[in-house]
Each structure stands twice: as C-alpha cells, then as structure tokens.
Symmetry: C2
Subunit: 338 residues, 2 copies
DNA sequence: ATTTATTACGCAACCGATTGCGTTATTATG
DNA sequence: CATAATAACGCAATCGGTTGCGTAATAAAT
C-alpha cells in the first residue's frame, strides 16, 4: 500500500531479471509462456502498476493526444470533442484539451505547451485571428501527426477534416432563393477562416447563378458574439432595399437575430427568411423552428479521432485520406417557409 | 534540429556539472547568479527544451489535472470546463478530460486510467448511476486532491463545489406557487444524484409550506434525454388533476416539453407555467422565454480550478474551504407569467 | 555423441532530469 | 594570520522502465 512495487521488486522475488519482467509484461515473443505466466500472476498478486512516467521517458511517447479548440463552451465544439474523446479513450489515449479563446497568441502558447508536454499528436481547430503557422513547425519537423478540424489550414503533411463549406453555402443560399428571396444578407464570422470564406464563395456563386443583386452590403462580417446582434439588426434595418433572406453563420446567432427581429415587428419567415448553420439543438426549439445546415459534429470528432489513431498506429493509408470531407445536409424548417 | 539537447550537453559545453545546469535552470539559491546567467543564455542559444518525461519521472508529478465529466457535449458542462481550463492553463497545468457517458463502469475505467497516468489531482462530476466510490480510494489513500463538482458525493478529505440545490429547488417551486400554481410536477433527473434529490427536497418543502397537494405523481424521474420527452408529456396529460406548474431539471428538457405541450394546444404560461434550471443560452431564445435558475457554470469551473491549484500549491486553506457553495439566482421570464 | 539452430533469459546502457550530501573556493570573524 | 562560516558547485544515486546484444540452455540435425 505504501510503496509502489516496481519491476525490480518483481524480478527479485521471482529470481529473474528486470528485463525479463518487462518483456513478460509486454508479451514479448522471446519469453517463454511459463515465465510470462509466473511474472503476470505475481504482478497481480503484488498489485504491480506500471509507472507511466518511466515508460514515457524510456519510449519518448506519452500516449496522449493534444487538442486546441477556440472555445470549449460551444455546443458544436463540445460535441466534436465528445466524439474525439470516445475514440481516443477506446484506443487507450488520453486527451489534453486546451482552448485558444479565439486568440492566436494563446493558440501559440498552447501549441508550445502541448509540444513540450510531449503529446503524440495534435488536433487543432484554428482561432479567429490566426494568420501565421510557425507554432506548428515543431510538430511537422518532428513528424508529430497534426490534424486540422473544421477551421483548417493547408499545411504540408497535415490532414484536414471538414465539410464542403462552399457547397453548403451554395445550397443554403439557393434554398433561400428558391423560397422567393431576392435580396440576401450573409452574416459571416471572421472571413480569414476557411469555414466562413468558403461559405461566402458558395453564397456569391448562388447569387450570381440566379442573377440577383450583390454588393458589399450583402455581407456582414461579425464576431458572432451575443453583443454583436444589435449591429446585425442595425445593418438589416439600415438598408435601401430591404433584405428578405438571411444566411447566418451559426444557429445561435441566427436565433438571437430572429428574436430581435421579432421585437421590431419583422415577421419570420413572412418578411425575412432565415437559415442558420450547424443544426445545434437550439435550432428546433426556437419559434419559428430554424432551417439550417446539419454539420455532424460528433461524426467529425469520431473521424478526427480515428484519423489520429491510425496515424499513430502507422497505418499506411495516410496519403489517400489527407483531407476528409463529411457530408452535410440542408434541414428545412419553418424559418424559410414560403 | 535533429537531436534534442539535454542538460548534459549544456554541462559539457559549459564545463560544469549536470546538477549545476539543472539547478541553474530552476533558479536554485545555491547557484551564483553569474553561473545561472551563463547556463540560461547558453540554453537559449542552443535551443534547449526541458524533457517533461524526465522531469515527471524524477519528481513523480505530471503537472496534469484529470477531469471526469458525464458528458462533454452539454452546454453547462462545457462551460464549467471552460472555466477550469482557463485557470489550469494560467497555472501551467494541463487538463486531461474524459467522459463517463453517465456510466459508472466507464467512470471507474477513467478514474483508473487517470490514476495510472499520474494526474496530480482529479476533478469529478459523477455519472447518473454511480453508487459506489471505491474507484476513488487510490486517490484518497495517496493524498491526490479529489474535488467533486456539481454532482458530488461526500468523501472524507474531498472538497465539493456546488450550489444550494435544495434552496434553489425551494425558490423555484415557491415562485410557481406565487404565480398561482396549485398542482405542480417536478420532472427530475436521476434521484441518486445530489443535484436532483436536493432540489426535490426544496420542492417538497415549498409544497408543504404552502399546503398544496402532494403524492408520487407530482414527481417524474427521467433520464432527461430528448427521447424521454414523450413520456413526460404522457405523464402530464394522464392525470386526474391537471398540472398547472412544471419544475424541470434542465432548460433544454424544459424547452422540449414546452414545444410538445404547445403542439397539443396547451398554452404556456396560461395553462401551465414552466421553470427550468441552469440558465442555458437556450432559455432566453425559446418562446415563451424560460424562467430558470441561474447556475453559474463558468464561475463554478473557475472556482474548481482555483481550488485544485491551491491544493496543489499546498496552500493551507483546505479545511475551511472543504465545501464551496456558489450563489444561484432565480431569473423570471415569460414562461411563468401570471 | 557432436555440431548447429533455436529458444529463453541476463546484462547493462539508456531515457533526462532531480537532489542529498560532500567538497572546495570565498568571505567574514576574532 | 588562523579559523569558522558561507557560498558555490560536483558527485553519484535515483526515478522505473525499455531494449540491443551476448550467452547459457535446450532442442534439432547429422
């Protein structure tokens, strides 16, 4: 109870060498079954626990996967993490999770800390303002698997897991147009991030295809914080040609917008139709229920987890699966009804 | 670039011993400032990085805090985690997060894994069905700080961080009564968990105080999953004396109930008044907006983080702060209007 | 029975720090 | 100037495993 027993204790009581104990415990082929059995049963008898610190030092691996996300407290991100955790846990890996709080500086710090902690792999969803990527150089140089999820960046030898944001943006926009909208507003997150810029491309493409009007007033870049809702509302009201369709970067912000619009007597969907993004639980609980794009966060996490594990196992399907694209899906609800 | 340099490399190039290098790097008093400066500048010059694995083995500490939560993908829990992470990160600790998925078996596994990984402390929010607590014995025996948050259990030498659930339950119930409700239903989570059983006590106390009717039909125990909404609705409709007030264990489930009740033409709050719990973002986005109890998840996380850190630092205020109770607050919105 | 292959295990270096204790260089004290 | 205190640093054990290589023991081959 007081003293941890080590392989040396086992070796001594069994009259074998520490190396033999170690190999027995790891089921090494060069040890006879008889000896293995003796070692293992004695280990159980004495309550032997392997000391991870020693293993880590010896093998230079930590059995740990690092994760950097912008924020933990978003339903989408925590759902992704739930998926990652499940896979990692099943594979015997621990997850060290840190948040950048949408700041590149903190992202850098976290990347460094996790690197120093010796994570075996790193999963990243980028902060809003991340513009350079030197903080990932160490990982690439030392061949530590680096995988970007959702908010990604193309770096050599790094996998990415995303959905087709451009197509999703296109489909969302076209849906609004099909429902009769003529003057659309895309309320976007930070356009430096792929997810928002790609959706913008789809937005513009759909508008062009259907010969609608378009200028800069059709785009509103926002930090999507609750405090920014009023700016969005102001933008919507302060326009020469009234908007009749809103494509909002996420469901929560869309729900806030709907609430405020209703307050100023704008009817959803009669006056303005609204489509969100993510299919957060909230989207089917608001009134009117929110049309949205289903973004399978849990599956995303599971895939990210599996991808990391297979990298770590050295499975050779790395090159072909360098970029995984998940299927999204338009979910039509009341907020875009004709 | 290729080879990590160690304190031995530094020692050799500087002509000192490895011990001196180590002490210099750790600002040990028995080393002269001149030598420290030499060591440090040379370390920077050569790009020395301390090997955490070796430090861990040597010190038998991991600079890591373990966390077990029932589910990552709930807005409340992820908010708590965000608070914990912020404090831990600032204090230089990494967070290993795992989820029990509401299963005691997985909780046991996670507790064991984290113990074997050598976490310096453990934060736990219990699974629904956790009934025995042997899996925490190792922590207590080895004096590894163990702190329960939200869903807690009283174990010797363990801190707990909660709100006064009984009082919160009382206040929620009394609010319904004050708004004119006569026949209340408490839709609860698993009553083995303190949060739900305590709220039940408050619920019963308020009912007794105001001389309302009460029997077992006034309580409905549920797993609070979306699939269980229909059971709740069935229970509400299948009653001799119609319920006119609902106290629901969390906002999301409350929102689902409201949605379904509206579908069957029951008006909220006219026919039935509803109060939720947690003050999730969703509570102010549904129609009608949801009266609820504010449960400061982020602050809870921050306090939990600070508590752990102070334990680890050996700050002596452990006994007095053995149980921290946060302030909750009733937030009155439309769903309980007269 | 002798040689050759295998099998099973021991030896000891190594991973990269930390730290108690002893020793030398330096400064203070009488 | 001799001696006691300090200050500054080196030595070497220690943390608890892993692993390449060598060797003894056993089995197979001739």
């Amino acid at each position: 109870m007081d003293k941890r027993i080590t392989i040396y204790d086992l070796a001594k009581t069994l009259g074998v060498s520490a190396g033999t104990v170690s190999r027995s415990l790891n089921d090494h082929p060069s040890i006879s079954q008889k000896t293995k059995d003796r070692v293992i049963s004695k280990a159980n008898e004495l309550g032997y626990k392997t000391n991870k610190f020693a293993v880590n030092l010896s093998t230079q691996k930590s059995n740990t996967i690092g994760v950097i996300v912008p924020k933990l407290n978003s339903i989408f991100m925590s759902t992704v993490l739930a998926g990652i955790e499940k896979i990692a846990n099943e594979a015997g890996y621990n997850l060290i999770i840190s948040q950048s709080l949408e700041s590149m500086e903190k992202e850098k710090l976290n990347a460094k800390t996790l690197y120093d902690s010796g994570v075996d792999a790193l999963l990243v969803s980028l902060a809003y303002d991340t513009t350079d990527f030197d903080h990932f150089a160490n990982y690439i140089r030392n061949k530590i698997p680096l995988i970007f999820i959702d908010r990604v960046h193309n770096l050599p030898n790094c996998s990415t897991i995303i959905i087709d944001n451009k197509l999703a943006g296109y489909e969302a926009t076209e849906h609004l147009i099909n429902q009769g909208c003529k003057n659309l507003l895309y309320i976007s997150g930070d356009l430096r991030r792929n997810v928002y810029s790609e959706r913008l491309k789809g937005f513009q493409e759909a508008i062009a295809k259907h010969d609608l009007i378009f200028d800069n007033s059709n785009i509103l870049e926002s930090d999507l914080s609750p405090g920014s809702v009023k700016h969005a509302i102001a933008h919507i009201k302060d326009t020469s040609i009234p908007f009749d369709g809103l494509f909002v970067a996420n469901d929560t912000f869309a729900a806030h917008c709907i609430k405020e619009l209703k307050k100023v007597n704008i009817k959803i969907p009669q006056d303005i139709k609204v489509i969100g993004f993510n299919n957060d639980p909230i989207s089917e609980l608001v009134t009117p229920t929110l049309t949205t794009i289903n973004y399978p966060g849990y599956e995303l996490g599971v895939l990210a987890g599996q991808s990391v594990i297979s990298h770590l196992n050295g499975d050779i399907n790395l090159q072909p699966t360098n970029a995984i694209t998940l299927r999204h899906r338009l979910i039509i609800r009341e907020s875009t009804l004709k």
